[in-house]
Structures are given as structure tokens and as C-alpha cells.
Symmetry: C2
Subunit: 203 residues, 2 copies
Amino acid sequence: MPDTNLAPTTALDDAALDRLFRKARTANAWQDRPVTDETLRQLYELTILGPTSANQLPGRFVFVRTPEAKEKLLTTVSSGNQEKTRTAPVTAIIAFDPQFYEHLPRLFPHADAKSWFTGNAAFAERSAFLNSTLQAGYLILAARSLGLDAGPMGGFDSKKTDELFLAETGWKSTMLINLGYGDHSKTFGRLPRLGFDEAALLA
Amino acid sequence: MPDTNLAPTTALDDAALDRLFRKARTANAWQDRPVTDETLRQLYELTILGPTSANQLPGRFVFVRTPEAKEKLLTTVSSGNQEKTRTAPVTAIIAFDPQFYEHLPRLFPHADAKSWFTGNAAFAERSAFLNSTLQAGYLILAARSLGLDAGPMGGFDSKKTDELFLAETGWKSTMLINLGYGDHSKTFGRLPRLGFDEAALLA
């Protein structure tokens, strides 16, 4: 009998591939349709399942959705990202916890993974940056999986964001992702992509 | 009339969410079933559609699948990752091109984005590292979308990998991802995850 605790081995259908990749687009404008906290919790529960190195799970997520918090966040956002961030139902601050390894005795109990990072802040921070960015990729595709649209952004002042939102936790922000239901009448044309032979090698 | 060039706005069904997230697992052993170059090209075509900041697309991908190339790669892989890498039909080297910005006049034609990076190697490298790691996240979920299993790994010597595989291109490796059809009889139990209240905030 197949183990039903494991993933089905078939590829997704065309509609799912379209939703995730082929017809999915970064949203720049939004429908007047809220994103509930329940949906944000579903989004988190999918995102957190994606793999990270030694189950480090360094990614941290601040879901900014009240007008007061949004106003505060807008003081850190570049001019080109203002309007879409102001109007997005939610903006997620993607961050990492530089002390993520304190959780490893629970998250990765079969090895002393915490000791790989204690006293090696530069190594720990690189690992946290890499793995939390993987988790940002999972979050973008988890959002699309739930019928949401995402608008990832690099144009913001991460230091100021840390001061305003993360001072108590010590987390470090790396990017912002607007979340909502996109107004596709305002989606830009798809930009060109690099061909396989420009960005990949077979060895 | 709805624009059929844009993504359907519905959430994926349970089977798709299972395949991508809820029942998906990192593979540690593999079925004796090849991954064709055609499948690797499909994987690339999905991966490259994921969003990157200003369409930078810094990610580069070396698909190692011949015995000779695999032997060479194994000289860079940590002992704990040897067997699963040796037996994987394909191991993808995830890398970035530090000179990615040379393509921006074509990839992001409506602004002089190339000038943001020229003469600022540290800023360019951080952006390439972040965005190519997002692309690695897309690749892992694109693999799952195509019915493949993925096994991402950090335990390898990136400097030696660069010398052996990337000397001609100047690309820089950041992680490895085994690809194939997993032998789920050998999948480990799911490790714990952080709860919403440990890794997320509502603001």
C-alpha cells in the first residue's frame, strides 16, 4: 500500500503550472479585497515546510497590515515602491534571526548542529541569509499556491526597517513582499528571460 | 473578457499543495529512474520565470549527470552527502554570475539598471547571492511541480567546485541540489517546525 504521508509522484497539471510559474506575474496594483489573518497563517504553514539546511529555519516574517504599521513601513520604502506598498493589503518583511541556531537542539535533534554556529557569527549570518532567502522563495510560491499574488521588492532601507520593526527581536530584514489579490489590468508585460544556453550547463 | 495570459486566481487543490509542500520531503535515496535532459530543460524554463529584483536573473545552473562529471563533483562533497549525491540521477550546482548586470540592458530595458552595479562589486555580489538563492527556491518547487524530488545541500566545498566546474564562466557556486525520483521508503521522518508565534509577527 502506498504511504499516503508522502507526496503524490505526479507532475502538477497545466492550470497549476500556470498559476505558479507560466502565467504568474509580480503584482503592482491590487484589487480591493482583504487578506485575512487566517490566510496569512495558512501561508506561513506552507512556507515553513520548505527545506532549509539542517532544518535551520532562520526565516522570520513580519506581516504588516494595519494602517499605522504600513505608514511606518512606508518611511523605509524607495519612491518607486511607495504606491504599490501603500495599497497592498499586506506587506511581509522577510528577515532572519542571527541567533537561529539556538533552536537547533529542538529542530535538528540528531546532531549538535548548534555548535557549528556558536562563536562563528559570520558563518552563521551567511547561512541565515541564504536559508531565509530560500524561505522567501517558498513564501512567494506558497502565496501563489493560495491564490494570492506577490510583489517582492529590494528597494527599501533595511537598517531603518530593523530599527522600526525588529529592535526587540534582533531579526535582520532582507526584503519586502507585497501580498494581495493583484489587479491584473495593471500588470506590466513580461520581461525577457535568459535562455537555457545562457544560464545553464549540462555536465 | 478575462486576460488568459495571466494566472488563474484560484488556489491550488489539495493534491498540488501536498506535492509542493505538505507531503513533499527532501529525498535521500533514489529510484532507478533517469531524469532526461528534456526534463531538465522544462525545469529550467519554469525556474527562470520566477521573479528577481529588477529582473536580474543572476542564477546559473550546472546540471551534473554524466558519471565522469559526478565523480569530479564528489571530490567536493562532504562525507555525509556522498552516497545520496553519487546515486542521484542529477546534481544541480546552483551558482550566480557576479557579472550578471551585463545583461540588464536587455533584461530590464526601461532603466539603466546596469549602472547600479558597475564599480560596486560588493553590492552586486550581495544582490546576486540573494536573487540566485531565491531562484534556487523556485527550482526546488519547480522540480516538485514536475514530479521530481529535490535534495538541497550546503555541505560541499564551493571554492573547489568553482575551480572544477566554473573556472571558464567565472560563476560562483552557493549550493547543490540533487534531483531525481525519490525512494520514499528511505525518506526520514519530518523534522519539527517553528510555530507561527515563534517565527512570525502581525503588525
